[in-house]
Subunit: 808 residues, 2 copies
């Protein structure tokens, strides 16, 4: 429904105060964009008072300031615990201005005081070299959402609200952002709100009508069409519209009260009466001009209320005296003399409007999640570990066993840990968690549904963007989570990952922001086992994307079996401020390491598997592997080599932590050159079977002594709907080809090797033909007998002394 | 509005025929998923008749078959030119079955005949090693949309309909796909339809209620809420709902007639009466059970109408006789004896239902765009080229000049070329095109708007996903286009690029699909010039993503100046079946090459810039560069070296075509080792200034003789809102640091060099401090006088003899 609201009496004194705060914030915003000096306009503006480069976005800013002012009124009158997410994060000056008005800015950055000198520094530093960015950046107190890349404000907001029953998350959606896919999908996040245990999101669609150079779609369809759409998204629409400030103040005040009443009613019904039936959540449709209160016309061209107000409406203020005069009268239109005292401090009457302490949106600890984060209570992974009598002596589905361990993680952390997935939690075989929790869903639930409930720890929507945004919002407010996804489709969030990695990188350098929990990906249903779906579902390139990010914040793990997956995931869930990418299979697969061996191997990150190796310190060749399928093929190749070329001394190296391959100058996990050379030798051929695109291994190892001897097999973009072994053959990653590679790289092997090589060629041909005839893999690839020849002949011994950082 | 439709008389003979076709398609679909042999059930099914691995998706298939049957009825009755896009592309068996029923399959693949033997081959090959994929793949006649990665069916459909006024694009949206962001955004594509010059899209939302393991959101909100949403998207909703086949046939027949009437009315009003006011376009909401007509229960558990019908409802048909018997009765329920004659051919009565020739959706040339593609009429780029009296003797904004050239491209190709961009065409300075065309927009247009009209060649929506989908749909149906985008945010379509590159790779091997036009990206507003927006807008990693794709289909260009950009873009627009990524700046920048020099340089892909080099064949050091900003810094470094270390012999190499760096075994554009060594030397230090992440250069060159001497500077994820020169300093890509790198790499330079190095260190410090004080770059980086020392001292001469492939 669309509601009509009774606005307050125009004489209501609150409106005047709201307007004064708004003017103060607008003044400070314009000052940040333009002024180097003379912050209180004590003299006519001169060229030297103006910044030489005008970098910022005015257009969205007055709307953000308006909302901040009014939310403060709501917070103080009703003692609301609220945070503010600015979808149009380009309006950085607004968040900074309000943080300064609330006193938070000077508390966090004492150099920027609350007086005239502080105001000058505030102005100068904005978009200035060595200063602060132009957006609502990590540097901005009160922010968990930068908004530079558009589309994520609602999913961040809903993530923040989860398990924070008393929190109100005000989420401003720009009407440009409204057009993006991720934002469009995330409206449906309201079907995943648990009204008992979650807080509320108040979406505010700010229709200022324009993007950079165009009108926005929602502003140019009929209003009833837009409202139909928003109601269809599950909202009650409270419209506030106008270009007369006092009228808008009156409407907005009433709308926020109404919205808060509605939220309270829904929550009360659910919490006191157990009535969790989904009802339309309120939202506000705010329709005000772009660049409102800014220059109406510049050089005879309309600016206010058009796309021309997007960035800096007066571009020539340094050189052009007319523009400068216009800027000055614009600034003076806010009547700064009424707002700031002689020393440049906010006048007491306005200061009193700010909420107190942590109720200030700029100082709310939910917007600085590291303050609230408590480590997860993690069970020992050994409780779920599988028995491994001998390497290859048992078979498990790694992710299914992980699911068993996660049962206990969920049980021990009932309010701070969630699982996110695009309809794939069961497909990815983590469904054991349904023993102790459900998938939360506020839509209609039928008797025939399984594990759906109004409360739960698992979130599933067929939108990787929404899953990622939820998890980010949940982490940024101090909690923990795991995103499981088909490997190929995690590329959908490449760009979101970029933004989150940038946030982590920047906040590492901000002492006042303690670290947050790591963003953990479990990528399964991976490239080698997309039997049903084929080529479209085969892409291992997310790893490549992630390793481009700042080394300090990214980690990539390829556990080769069940116990290593458990150990890895325990490590990841305990870690902070990283992006952890874990790639693991869900299909039945051999176990190689016992729990203790797995833990040691994971702590080292990579190591020689002595039990699979021969020849001790002087191998003829190194067979390296990373990933579950490459490990299987490598060990099978070792078995073939032992059978056919028993004199060949083979060293098997398995890599769990991919970043160990880089040197310690490049990555904190990097192996020093000496240790690398000890393991990979400095002159022997290395045949490396890798899970993903082979050139990544070269990119990580090109500085290594032995790099020119490293030969990598991996996914080379060949695939279809076929059998698992056909897939490895299509990409030359199969055991037979690895044997051929070894023979090609060890020329001293002589004529017997040539015959073995031909045998491999023939076997591959036969395997291919068999598969095409029978529609299945040749039985011998499932024959376990070859494992006899890789049975342990010695205990694994420490091959690398460096342990991973034992954070935390 | 939601419309009530009068269904036809239940005795209408058309319904029986529609049902028969549907049963035939369903029979063939189940056969594909299960059967190796006995395609006509001439004997009771035996284990050996069943495939050993059951790979496919039944759930969505009966819905797709139903729609195909009914669309054929519409096509034949009304002579409609239509194509079919299956959003739930997992239902591959449906598209294959209908193509076989229409005869197209046997025409395209003669080995799969139209009789019993052909049917057996059809069944066997599906999801079988050496056979065909399980999805609506490129191998499927009539498809331009694979649907493996969900979310793009509507944007593809709208792209296909552009400039095809007589085409009807039926686009089936799965209700799982409905939840994705890209799909959610793309509903608004109907605001960009030109009813005069474009065809129509008929969206069909198929609400079968379930995804892999969950109900879908749209199926579990109130129906009036869903309809409100769909009306809000701008549609008239025609609902067809039921689980009784004949009732649904009657409703769907009427709904399609109504939808077609509505479309005709809108188009007629626009075309005959000039009435282009936007009206609600019809869409169909089809509500039928998932896995309809399949096993209702399996092992006592409900399957039909639930998520359990998603893939293969009967999993044990080979081992379990009960399942096998259930499969047989399922197949027999379609009464194949009525559908196929004794030889396995479709009975004539049903055969007659198929449209004729190109009217068959499986044979419509719009679904095989290479058949329709005509080369663009491209003007000589020299017509727009800029005068370059000497290298660095003029300054231009490269993309603005490109815009001038595009004016003529648009003018000459008024129906086959479009520009796509997320609200950035003007920001990216291509706005000259508005001299000859407009931005198409069907929303309300105000007098104050500029260049918006109901017809136009430019499409702008703030959704990179929609832009990409539109362009793909436009290309796949035989036309041409250019997508201009901020460099950082093109990552939003990483995953879409994956899918398109896979399509290109696969169709290269399908002779019956001639090549389509290349997908051309112009990435500008790049990492080095995000002065306003800072860190969130800085990411050059799309190149890294693209080069992971199959070498045969990807090309990356980094033109260093205006004329090279023109030459490059002309090459790209003339090319076919590639993904071309062109990265170029929009800010004022020096010109280096005349039009002729630029063309030669681009044809070579890389080359020595003799005019900037000294020392001829025996340089002491090579300074290589790729990208406009790195080229500027490199030439400035050369100038500094000439001033301070005039005895040093410097070779300058500029790289336009990044793939030249790989060897010719790795990429078709790769430079043979001998030529690479001639240019980069086999033993001299190479200081490489690169636009993006530096390790990409190592990844491309690790096989080169001189690789260990290549030292790369590039973007290392350091950035903020600051000045352009501060950005290059933050990443050690600046001229001073390049000079330091040269000195560090040429130890023979001695003590004078040490003093120069210290001067560089001091100058950097001074530059940093100056910038932080004044908020602008130190004036000397804008001082052109240094250019004097890189003025040409010889004409550019051919340094590499290999020319690029001159396709087309």
């Amino acid at each position: 429904m669309t509601s009509t609201i009774e606005p307050p009496d125009p004489e209501d004194g609150r409106l005047r105060l709201l307007d004064a705060w708004w003017r103060a914030a607008n003044y400070l915003s314009v000052g940040q964009i333009y002024l180097l000096d003379d912050p209180l306009l004590r003299r006519p503006l001169e060229a030297a008072d103006i910044k030489p480069r005008l970098l910022g976005h005015w257009g969205t800013t007055p709307g953000l300031n308006l909302l901040w002012a009014h939310l403060n009124r709501l917070i103080t009158e009703r003692d609301v615990d609220a945070i503010f997410l600015a979808g149009p994060g380009h309006g950085g000056p607004a968040a900074v201005a309000n943080a300064w008005l609330e006193g938070t800015y000077s508390e966090v950055y004492p150099a920027v005081g609350d007086d005239e000198e502080g105001m000058q520094r505030l102005f100068r530093q904005f978009s200035f070299p060595g200063g602060i960015p132009s957006h609502v950046a990590p540097e901005t107190p009160g922010s968990i959402h930068e908004g530079g890349e558009l589309g994520y404000v609602l999913s961040h907001a809903y993530g923040a609200a989860m398990d924070n029953p008393d929190l109100l998350v005000a989420a401003v959606v720009g009407d440009g952002e409204f057009e993006t896919g991720p934002l469009a999908a995330s409206w449906h996040a309201n079907k995943f709100v648990d009204p008992v245990h979650d807080g509320a999101v108040l979406p505010i669609l700010h229709l200022n009508g324009y993007k950079i150079a165009n009108p926005t779609v929602p502003a140019r369809i009929e209003r009833d069409e837009l409202e139909s759409l928003l109601r269809g998204y599950g909202h009650e629409v409270l419209t506030v519209e106008g270009d007369d400030p006092m009228t808008v103040h009156a409407q907005l005040l009433a709308a926020l009260d109404t919205a808060h009443d509605r939220i309270t009613a829904i929550q009360t019904a659910a919490r006191q009466d157990g009535d969790t039936a989904r009802r339309p959540w309120p939202m506000i449709l705010l329709v005000t001009p772009k660049g409102w209160t800014g220059p109406h016309e510049v050089d005879g061209v309309l600016v206010e209320g058009t796309w021309r107000a997007h960035q800096v409406p007066l571009a020539g203020t340094r050189e052009n005296p007319e523009h400068r005069a216009q800027l000055e009268s614009w600034l003076r239109s806010y009547r700064p003399e009424e707002l700031f005292d002689a020393e440049g401090r906010l006048v007491p009457e306005l200061k009193d409007l700010a909420p107190r302490g942590k109720r200030r949106m700029s100082a709310n600890p939910h917007a600085n999640g590291g303050l609230l984060r408590r480590p997860l209570d993690l069970p020992d992974f050994r409780a779920a570990a599988v028995e491994v009598p001998t390497p290859g002596g048992s078979v498990h589905e790694a992710t299914r066993v992980l699911g068993q361990w996660l049962v206990d993680v969920v049980r021990r952390n009932p309010e701070t840990f969630r699982l996110f997935g695009p309809d794939e939690t069961a497909s990815n075989r983590l469904d054991a968690v349904y023993e102790v929790t459900d998938k939360v869903f506020a839509g209609t639930i039928l008797d025939s549904d399984e594990h759906l409930a109004s409360s739960g720890r698992v979130l599933e929507i067929l939108s990787e963007h929404t899953c990622q945004g939820w998890l980010e919002g949940y982490l940024l407010t101090g909690r923990h989570g795991l995103f499981s996804c088909y490997e190929a489709f995690i590329h959908l969030v490449d760009s979101m990952l970029n933004q989150h990695a940038k946030w982590l990188k920047t906040t590492r350098e901000l002492e006042w922001r303690p670290p947050i929990a790591s963003l953990n990906y479990l990528l399964t249903s991976h490239v080698w086992r997309q039997d049903h779906n084929g080529f479209s579902h085969q892409d291992p390139g997310f790893i490549d994307h992630v390793v481009n990010k700042k080394a300090e914040v990214v980690r990539v793990y390829l556990p080769p079996d069940t116990n290593t997956l458990l150990s890895t995931m325990r490590h990841c869930l305990a870690s902070v401020h990283y992006v952890n990418v874990v790639v693991a299979g869900k299909q039945p697969s051999y176990d190689w390491l016992t729990a203790d061996e797995a833990d040691l191997h994971c702590a080292r990150g990579l190591g020689i598997w002595d039990w699979a190796s021969s020849g001790g310190d002087e191998p003829d060749v190194v067979l390296a592997c990373a990933g579950d399928v490459p490990t299987l093929e490598t060990l099978a190749a070792v078995s073939l080599l032992r059978t056919h070329l028993p004199e060949l001394k083979v060293r098997v190296v398995n890599v769990v932590d991919l970043m160990r391959l880089q040197d310690d100058q490049e990555h904190p996990h990097g192996l020093p050159h000496r240790e690398f050379d000890t393991i990979f030798t400095s002159d022997k051929p290395v045949v490396f079977a890798y899970h993903g695109y082979p050139w990544l291994i070269h990119r990580l190892t090109y500085r290594r002594t032995n790099h020119s001897n490293i030969h990598v097999r991996g996914y080379k973009e060949e695939g279809t709907t076929t059998t698992p072994f056909d897939m490895v053959m299509m990409n030359d990653l199969d055991r037979y080809h690895l044997v051929m590679d070894v023979i090609d790289q060890v020329p001293s092997l002589g004529s017997r090797a040539a015959r073995v090589r031909q045998l491999m060629v023939d076997t591959r041909r036969r395997a291919r033909a068999w598969t095409r005839e029978h529609g299945d893999d040749i039985p011998e690839v499932r024959d376990w007998s070859w494992l006899d020849s890789v049975e342990p002949d010695s205990q694994a011994s420490p091959s690398s002394t460096a342990a991973l950082d034992d954070q935390p």
